[in-house]
């Protein structure tokens, strides 16, 4: 997020260094409700959230009509080649070639079949093929960083790509996002719509990142981590990661922190 952060939302006298952000992250973690499964929308360490979170509790509704029926996607919408992000240019992209695969399930463990999965990511140098990403890391002419696929009968998706690099953003001075792949998913019901980010195990940037830490429950946070799976790696070709996704829809009501 290089040129687009809401710096206007930040008081001018505030020291915007990592120590300040980390302190805020730790303070919120200390008072957070255990077991909170979703990110806090009101999460000041992520400065852009200040003016972009609702201040009133979500209103419980019984899903009706269009909310009960997920959109349908099919082979007329998505071509199989769209699942391979390494063959979209005229040559091989630079980076660590990897396969990422997993199962999309509903809350009862039933596979979400034939549904659209979309991903987007930075290249191996941490640069997005997006006009607003202007930080001085190289673009890769052979890597656009977007992919789509449909889940199969077991709810499985599978993408071939290169491992994205971490990248700087302007939330605060010397802010870096842990490496991640953005995922967009549809469930069986329209209420299960999910956009999230998949991370890689062991990233040293985790404790410093307000977007990841906005999920205050460590167990919930861990559900965004892919697992290295040697069985998916291929001899002299690519490494394998597994990441399963569970879609239950937004079933929680409280949005505010205890101290908000």
């Amino acid at each position: 997020m290089t040129s687009s952060t809401d710096v206007s939302a930040v008081p001018a006298d505030e020291p915007l260094d990592q120590a300040q952000i980390t302190r805020e992250i730790e303070e919120i973690a200390a008072t957070a409700r255990p077991g909170e499964a979703q990110p806090l929308l009101d999460y000041p360490p992520y400065r852009s959230s200040l003016l972009r979170h609702p201040t009133k509790a979500l209103c419980p509704a019984d899903p009706e009509a269009a909310e009960l029926v997920a959109p349908v996607f099919g082979h007329s919408d998505v071509a199989p080649v769209e699942a391979d992000l390494t063959i979209q240019g005229t040559g091989d992209p630079i980076g660590e070639r990897m396969v990422v695969t997993g199962q999309v399930l509903d809350g009862e463990g039933r596979p979400v079949r034939g549904q659209l999965v979309e991903i987007w990511q930075a290249n191996a140098a941490g640069r997005y093929m997006h006009k607003r990403d202007q930080h001085p890391a190289p673009l890769d002419p052979h890597f656009a960083g977007t992919g789509r696929c449909l889940t199969d009968d077991e709810g499985r998706y599978r993408f071939v790509t290169v491992k994205p690099g971490p990248y700087p953003w302007r939330n605060h001075h010397n802010a870096w996002r842990p490496a991640h792949i953005h995922f967009s998913l549809f469930g069986t019901d329209f209420t299960e719509r999910l956009v999230t980010q998949m991370y890689f195990p062991g990233d040293p940037l985790f404790p410093l990142d307000p977007i990841y830490q906005s999920i205050t429950d460590p167990r919930a946070r861990d559900r965004l981590l892919a697992t290295y799976d040697h069985g998916l790696s291929e001899h002299e070709w690519q490494l394998g990661y597994r990441w399963d996704i569970v879609l239950t829809g937004n079933t929680s009501t409280p949005m505010e922190r205890a101290d908000a």
Binding site: R52, C59, A66, D77, G109, H130, E192, V195, I211
Partner: protein
């Protein structure tokens, strides 16, 4: 099966614009076709400023109240699929070309199911854009809302369409929804 723990959401971030939008994403029907209207509005932040990096999705019934279960939302080759996606422009505006959904049963209130994503919004939000109609007065869900917030869920008829502004925060904050666990 035991209940599985949900995968948490995360913000759509600033860079979805090269990945999620696609040609025809916001045109559920061809502009100018029979019954075509514009469903449009502005997404605002808590200071009343427009949000230029939001993404709005709708899911809806056809004119007879039936929610289509057909593929083709990406191909957009003339099939009405009842689903669309629109990124906001630099002024925070989104526009869909679509048709008005009918109610499931006569006399019921009809609505577009709406999902909102944005940079700075850590998880997606769900809401409804109801069609203005006398049926709204009898709708049990709307009746259960505080009176001063009900109007945030009702689209306003204007020239050639329906206007539905979305306020993520502030005095006019839109009512956002949660749903019970699916059974």
């Amino acid at each position: 099966m035991p209940d599985l723990e949900p995968t948490p959401g995360q913000t759509v971030g600033p860079f979805f614009g090269f990945a999620l939008p696609y040609p025809g994403d916001s045109r559920l029907v061809p502009p100018g076709s029979a019954g075509a209207i514009r469903l449009h509005g502005t997404v605002y932040d808590g200071a009343g400023g427009p949000i230029p990096d939001a993404l709005v999705e709708i899911r809806q019934a056809d004119a007879s109240g039936v929610v289509p279960r057909v593929e083709g939302s990406i191909a957009r080759d003339g099939v009405f699929t009842g689903w669309g996606r629109a990124a906001t422009d630099p002024g925070g505006r989104y526009v869909f070309t679509t048709i008005e959904p009918g109610p499931e049963r006569d006399g019921e209130a009809a609505f577009f199911a709406v999902t909102v994503f944005a940079r700075g919004l850590l998880d997606r939000l769900s809401t409804r854009a109801y069609l203005p109609s006398p049926a709204l007065d009898a709708d049990p869900f709307l009746a259960g809302l505080p009176e001063d917030r009900r109007a945030t869920l009702v689209a306003v008829r204007d020239d050639g369409g329906l206007r539905f502004d979305i306020h993520l925060q502030g005095d006019e904050e839109t009512v956002f929804l949660s749903y019970p666990p699916r059974s």
